[in-house]
């Protein structure tokens, strides 16, 4: 399996200013064959949805350390709907408490990745979702 030909947006919504984790994931995805775009820090949900649509990505990975992940995820999903782009898959990574994971999946997220997860597992999960 490979992510060859898949387009992936790594996005940083919310206010935290750390993107080391986001950049590590971006490079791992590239090495798995994907075309990867990174938004930069502190982007609004509306902005992330617009970039995802203009770039026609298969996946948006939301990297969040700020704690407001529930609101940011549902905003992003709503903004994608406005573009008729609900088929773009959303993954979430960062510091997400155990108790919120089920609710994120319920809201429409395809997978939640934590910092302690091996990169190969992250990539395999995305490959599986896209195949």
């Amino acid at each position: 399996m490979s992510l060859k030909g898949k387009r992936i947006l790594i996005a940083k919504p919310g206010l935290d200013g750390h993107d080391v984790g986001a950049k590590v994931i971006a490079l791992a995805l590239r090495d798995a064959g994907a075309d990867v775009i990174y938004t930069g820090l502190r982007k609004s949900s509306a902005y992330i949805a617009k970039v995802a649509v203009d770039e026609d990505v298969d996946v948006v990975g939301l990297s969040m350390l700020s704690g407001s992940h529930m609101a940011l995820v549902s905003d992003t999903i709503r903004c994608l709907e406005e573009y008729d782009a609900s088929d773009i898959k959303i993954f979430v990574g960062g510091t997400i408490p155990e108790k919120d994971r089920a609710a994120l999946i319920e809201a429409g997220v395809c997978g939640v990745f934590t910092a302690d997860m091996p990169l190969e597992d992250v990539i395999r999960a995305i490959e599986r979702e896209l195949s």
Partner: protein, 312 residues
């Protein structure tokens, strides 16, 4: 609401992905239904080494270009970054330099991977340009990967070609002296805040002034810190587009584009054949491999010769 409607953005995005990933056969099938290229959209290309500051410059320039054509369709930017030959993946990093303008509704930014192209452009780039143009943009700004012989391919694909150089770009200046780089319509000495910019600019002016071409290419010093050079570049582009509208032979331009288009399809088709049938290379001599590839191309030819001629 100004700019493209949300659903048009979605449609354009999808169409570009499909075309960017199309095989030679798919691209040819598509060409039969494609609209004629209108030449109403101005294509402005930017080339120069990686790190020369092309994306940063395009972002700042796009704001000025957009201000002048907001009501006439706006501006699209296509930014090409290299595909890793080892993994097939890429980091498409041009967009992140364009953050400051990315919220403009009349602007469309699209990042592309070079895929199998090694001429600084991307697979099917002429199809991608025509598709973007069919959405009514007034101007398209195209950023190349900027390696090696990128200049020739982009020269044939755009109306105005801007070459972005850094101060002390000794290699580029040597190359220009030997004549291989003299293809641009406008030269930018970027990062003019760094030492050596004046000297590089005057060297390049010296070379350009000796050129016999009818259009006298301006050499403009620009830095991210100051606005003056940028305004000069903006007007130089408008002047070149106007000059060209008056002087060029449109059918000759379309011919040159078709030349590049056909040639790149054939090169890519040969690469596809070799990828799918590596045994083509297991022959005792070179001429035999060559002949077998020609035979396969000939069977392609039977398939395509019956198709209608299209506007390229």
């Amino acid at each position: 609401m100004s700019g493209l409607a949300p659903r048009s953005r979605r449609a354009l995005g999808r169409e570009l992905t499909r075309l960017a990933q199309a095989s030679v056969a798919e691209s040819l099938a598509h060409s039969a239904q494609r609209p004629e290229p209108s030449m109403e959209t101005a294509r402005i290309g930017f080339t120069g080494a990686p790190g020369a500051g092309k994306s940063t410059l395009i972002s700042r320039l796009a704001r000025l270009r957009l201000a002048a054509c907001r009501d006439q369709g706006g501006v699209a930017i296509l930014g090409i970054d290299p595909t890793s030959p080892l993994t097939g993946g890429s980091i498409l990093g041009d967009r992140i330099r364009m953050d400051a303008i990315a919220n403009e509704p009349e602007l469309y930014i699209r990042s592309l991977a070079s895929r199998s192209s090694n001429d600084g452009l991307a697979d099917n780039v002429l199809d991608l340009l025509v598709t973007v143009e069919s959405y009514g943009f007034r101007e398209v700004l195209l950023e190349t990967v900027g390696v090696g012989q990128a200049e020739h391919a982009i020269r044939h694909s755009v109306d105005t070609l801007v070459m972005v150089l850094q101060p002390n770009a000794g290699d580029a200046i040597q190359a220009m002296k030997s004549g291989v780089l003299e293809l641009a319509d406008i030269y930018v000495i970027n990062k003019a805040d760094l030492p050596g910019a004046k000297k590089s600019a005057s060297e390049i002016r010296g070379i350009v002034q000796r050129s016999q071409a009818a259009w006298r290419a301006p050499v403009i010093e620009i830095s991210q810190q100051h606005g003056e050079g940028l305004a000069k570049l903006d007007s130089a582009i408008s002047e070149h587009l106007a000059w060209q509208a008056e002087h060029r032979n449109a059918s000759e331009t379309l011919r040159r584009r078709r030349h590049y288009h056909v040639q790149s399809l054939i090169v890519r088709r040969v690469a596809e054949l070799l990828d799918h049938r590596p045994q083509l290379l297991d022959t005792t001599n070179l001429a035999e491999s060559y002949a077998e590839i020609l035979q396969l191309l000939a069977s392609d030819a039977k398939r395509y010769s019956r198709q209608e001629e299209t506007g390229w």
